[in-house]
Symmetry: C2
Subunit: 351 residues, 2 copies
């Protein structure tokens, strides 16, 4: 091994609010104003797209894939393929040093950045692929999180999906991303803390309470399957915001069973299809909220995650996000969740 130090991005802590920001020190650059221009976005096709079968050489070597028996890594024959990001915001080499910079706090940008290619079909949205295909995507999330959590430097695995240009996506071929972080994001930390406080007061899980409240009133519920509920949350920040969570209390997504993954695949497909039908294929973001890496480490012996309840958030991006919403976390939503649920329910397929 060479002595050369790997150049890393910096993860800086906001001293006022406590959130964290990856600051690009590897390729610092000024974004062009025309990044709002979506024209070029959907012009790729199977020939140029790095995520299409036959173009496996255009991505870094695959980490795992669900593929036909007898087919070879980094060649055709896969259903779901996981590869490292070509432009990783965090790198796996290096120490997760925590550094004080004057009064400020910084963590060196070690971690992982992977891409889950959800289908070989360039034109298919996740809603259009088969249920068994979505189940493989879910299983890939599980496998990759479990693998990354063997690395004690990685404290949180952030799984998310940007669909459509205005959601922030840069490649239209359907895919999710996984960023393995050396710190737990602020909002996840707050969710963990608020769950803990709720449990300490009531001896009940906050999300389980929400679940039974939603089941009872039904006005915001989209569907209840054998293992999952999908609903529009009471204080939806965005029109048609959707939460999917397991009926059974569990803080840890990776403990999902094969049967539950099959059921979840059906629920996700059903909900995304309803969204596409009701709103003409809107751009959306989907993200998984689950417990951080629970492997004990120094200074963190007591795990508080047992009170937590994993879930998926789906946020359609129908509107521009105004500055006061980013700057103050104060939202204005023109669509009451009861109305959104009513509209979506008309497109939910009955089992």
């Amino acid at each position: 091994m060479s002595d050369e130090k790997v150049l890393l991005n910096e993860i800086r802590r906001d001293p006022i609010l406590g959130g964290w920001v990856i600051i690009d020190k590897i390729k610092p650059r000024i974004p062009a104003l025309n990044t709002f221009d979506g024209v070029k976005f959907d012009m790729e096709n199977g020939n140029g797209c790095p995520f299409c079968p036959g173009n496996e050489h255009k991505t870094p070597k695959e980490i795992i894939a669900f593929r036909e028996e007898g087919s070879h890594p980094d060649s055709k024959g896969w259903w779901v393929r996981v590869v490292p990001s070509k432009d990783p915001v965090l790198k796996i080499e290096g120490e997760d040093e925590h550094i004080g910079v004057g009064m400020y706090d910084m963590v060196m940008g070690v971690g992982a950045h992977e891409v889950i290619i959800e289908t070989p079909d360039h034109s298919h949205d996740l809603a259009a692929v088969s249920e068994s295909q979505i189940e493989k995507v879910i299983w890939a999330y599980r496998d990759r999180i479990m693998d990354l959590y063997k690395d004690k430097r990685i404290r949180y695995a952030l799984v998310f999906k940007n669909r459509g240009f205005m959601s922030g996506a840069t490649i239209s071929h359907s895919h999710s991303q996984l960023i393995g972080l050396p710190i737990t994001p602020k909002i996840i930390r707050e969710e963990l803390e608020n769950c803990k406080n709720h449990y300490n007061k009531k001896e009940r899980c906050l999300f389980c309470d929400i679940l039974s409240s939603e089941k009872q009133s039904e006005e915001r519920v989209l569907l209840i399957s054998k293992n999952f509920i999908a609903f529009c949350p009471y204080a939806s920040r965005f029109p048609f915001e959707i939460t999917i969570m397991p009926l059974k209390h569990d803080c840890d997504f990776t403990r999902i069973s094969k049967d539950e993954a099959i059921d979840l695949g059906r629920v996700v497909k059903n909900v995304l299809n309803a969204l596409n039908s009701a709103l003409s294929n809107p751009p959306y973001n989907m993200s998984l909220h689950t417990s951080p890496n629970r492997t004990p480490r120094i200074g963190y012996w007591i795990t508080i995650e047992d009170d937590y309840h994993w879930h998926f958030e789906i946020i359609p991006r129908l509107q521009r996000v105004a500055g006061f919403e980013i700057g103050t976390s104060f939202y204005y939503n023109p669509t009451p969740p009861e109305l959104a649920a009513n509209v979506l329910r008309q497109f939910i397929r009955k089992e």
Copy 2:
């Protein structure tokens, strides 16, 4: 007075994170997907624009205006004009009832929603108007906040500005907005609490510490005037994010003096001009963070705001906001603030 109950929006509390969302119950609607289409945005002109001189009848009656001597309310002859919003998200009539809805929490949507028209000139950005004009805008913020804070129902006055289509603006004529809220936004509450914690530990203001740290290193500073500093914050979430704050510790923006307002007008103009020159007139958001209404009320006798330090945030909107940034408060910024400051400094006018 009629007994009829005023129809109000609902301000709902997110049970998981504690943020608040205005849910539209007055005009509930589904946003059209084409709200991302900016084509129509800049097509208004002086003839149709409700904020242009001669069209004063197109807005509700003015609340205050800085106008030529002898000119009449709701007619030409003004420099800065404050009017109620035509589509207020909160209404001034009604009780600020705090209501439990099952396990959820809600506050009736009383408050104020005003528009500060910053210039009679349809084509001028705030950066293009004279320093004395910006000073009047700042003075209008002060006057309106002070007036609204006489109303004990209003706990926080949110002053913000959306410039350019992608910032969320719906009218291109330069203006700011003021929303008087019956609750304090979550981020402001967090800033207040973190300032209090810092003060309790160190007997120093958190923002004053940041100020002296930035003054010392200089690498992120844009300018220091007689009374203000402008800099790109250490953990900037967005490329070219800028903070402007007073050198003198004060929690309360409305205590600004006439001299300081003149100085602040110069600083804001200088900074916005540099931003426009460096980045070709980017869309941006600006917001004021100041202490909540400090008038004592039941259950809130102890004011914690003295440890706070008011400031302006400017966020250029060069990039789409990705879902994980909204969903987890975890940001990726390609432009280190040191680089942004370096670029902007070349366009800062020396006094």
